[in-house]
Amino acid sequence: MAFAIGLTGCTILIFAFVYWQTVRLERDRIGSYLTAEAAQAAQEPAGRLMAELRIRLTSDLRRVSYGALYDDKGQRLAGNVVELPPGLLADCKPRRLDVPDRLLDQPIQTGSRIMLVACRRDDGGVVLLGKDLDEVAALRAVILHALTLGLVPTVVLALLVGALLSSRALRRVRVLQQTISRVMHGNLHERLPTHGRRDDLDQLAGGINLMLDEIEELLAEVRSIGDNIAHDLRTPLAVVRLKIERAAAAADLMTAEAASRSALADLDKAFAIITALLRITEIENHGACDNMSPVDLSGLVAEIFDLYEPLAEAKGLHFTASYDAAIPVKADRHLLLEALANLVDNAIKFTPPGGRVGIAALWDADVPVIRVSDTGPGIPEAEHHKVIKRFYRADKSRHIPGHGLGLSIVAAIAKRHGFQLRITANQPGIIFDLICQPADKSRQVDIALQ
């Protein structure tokens, strides 16, 4: 609607401009003609001028309708204008005037204004030439008529089209609003309709749908965390309670002490879960990448190998590290160490004695990768994407102690850097690749909103 009004306004302005310029052009033309003639007449000898005036005023009325010659006292010597109109200066400049009360000897019938030029002569007299502007008035009328005829349909058309387009858009917006309102009232499964056109509304709806997908997923995760916390924290705490009860009822000090110590260990386990959960939240929510500096992946692998080698040896595992020249990557060194340590920690924990664990820093098709592999029980293909969710434990490994949050921490660290975590089967065992190159984040949303 606003657009239609704007369009109308612009059209009117254009027409007005055309009108104004056309009329002015015509007036100027007349004015300069009169001025040139008057200036020339001012130089002519009086006798010849008077004769010319007589001729012109009778035969050349098309270009000059008024003319006169006055002496230095203002008395008319020749011509049809009775006297110099009051207020008209003899400065040889064209002036537009309303018709004075007494212009000619006889009253004149002209509705329009007149243009007059008066020039002073050397002998003190004044020559006057003029024309009425009824031609210009006619031109004005014609143009106005044409413009009006053109303007009305333009305005009507603009308003119609505007109304049509805006009603279509409004309808789509209203549908979107209604869908959003339903979503807000709890129906998180609904998605906004899109029509396959790649126009702005469709792209917006597509973007919002992706947001809703993410929100639904996060809510599901939060719900599952709630369930898992209930299970994973309540269970050790329930055991703690039991043991303290036993300690309180113990007949001798030794039993009481043993039960208390055992309860303490369980409490520490519960605290470790809380710490790990908070750590994941801290990593995820820390915001953009501060603390990023060049990190040598090979150096990192060497350090972690050094740290975990005794542990692997103690467990009877074959532990190897492989890296060549430095592989620089822009990252937070402490976080990468933590991620790598978590992966190796897991590998050593889950691989039975006699197995192999390997860490490597390598280039995979020009992309820097940290790889941790083991020959443990592995993870079923179908569960690869689930494994990084909090508290996930593959059935085969439920008996192994730990809080099941290590991989969630690794995933959070990867996400914080914009890196990817790739999981592939090792036959037997599992391979974790931390691909240390920021991919295009949120590919879909970006494309949709371009």
């Binding site: 470790a272 801290e282 050094d306 740290l307 005794p310 103690a314 402490h334 933590e338 340590a341 920690d345």
Partner: protein, 238 residues
């Protein structure tokens, strides 16, 4: 496991420790335990009181919570440092993120412990702060018949040369600078390896096991002992 004994303590009198904590249960627990370990312990319930007491030099070490009434713990520490008060301060807080720890140390704290904490962990760190490590300019460390040459990177016990990997050398050096002190697993991870995370497995124990194996020969009295539930200690054989 009292780790403080008057015979080993270079200080003439019992160290005075001020606990600045507004939670009465925790304060009572800490003050009680400190006293049972032979320290002189006092208690302030807010930042202002703590500031005044520490300004007046009424303690050799402070254990301070962060969330305090009247004057926040970190603000108290910053003010003290600004005034040139250098007494060691251990920060105790439920705020346990890496950021929080960094903030605490930057404000002027000397160590940072998260709640909940094991009392032994607290004691080990208090002791570590009270007994600052041996002068760094020394080129030779000696504990009992164990000798470490920091220039040549050689370690020997009773003329028996001990071959150490670089990581084992770092570990032993750390312990030799703190003879007779209990060092917790967390302290090892933070100070020797500078890790901010806690591995799930018994990493430190395994490393310590290998070191012990090298340092304590088959017929030699044990110098590296485990402190049950807390950590490890290096001490001259008794």
């Amino acid at each position: 496991m009292p780790s403080f004994s008057a015979a080993q303590n270079p200080l003439r009198q019992q160290p005075r420790i001020l606990v600045v904590e507004d939670d009465p249960d925790i304060a009572e627990g800490i003050v009680g335990h400190l006293r049972s370990q032979g320290y002189e312990a006092t208690h302030a319930t807010d930042g202002e009181a703590g500031l005044m007491a520490l300004r007046a030099g009424l303690a050799d070490l402070a254990i301070a919570d962060r969330m305090l009434p009247h004057l926040d713990g970190l603000a108290m520490i910053e003010t003290l440092r600004g005034e040139g008060v250098l007494i060691p301060i251990l920060i105790l807080s439920a705020l346990g993120s890496v950021d929080d720890r960094v903030r605490g140390l930057r404000a002027g704290g000397d160590d940072y412990l998260t709640k909940p904490f094991a009392m032994d962990e607290l004691m080990a760190r208090v002791e570590a702060l009270l007994r600052r490590p041996v002068d760094h300019r020394q080129t030779v460390l000696q504990v009992g018949d164990l000798r470490m040459d920091l220039i040549d990177r050689l370690v020997e016990r009773n003329q028996r040369q001990i071959d150490l990997l670089p990581r084992e050398f770092k570990l032993l050096e750390y312990m030799m600078r703190r003879p007779g002190q209990t060092i917790t697993r967390a302290m090892f991870l933070e100070d020797v390896w500078h890790y901010r995370f806690t591995p799930q497995t018994n990493l430190v124990d395994v490393h310590m096991g290998k070191l012990r194996h090298k340092v304590d020969g088959p017929n030699e009295p044990q110098m590296i002992v485990g402190v049950p539930g807390t950590g490890f200690m290096l001490r001259a054989a008794v």
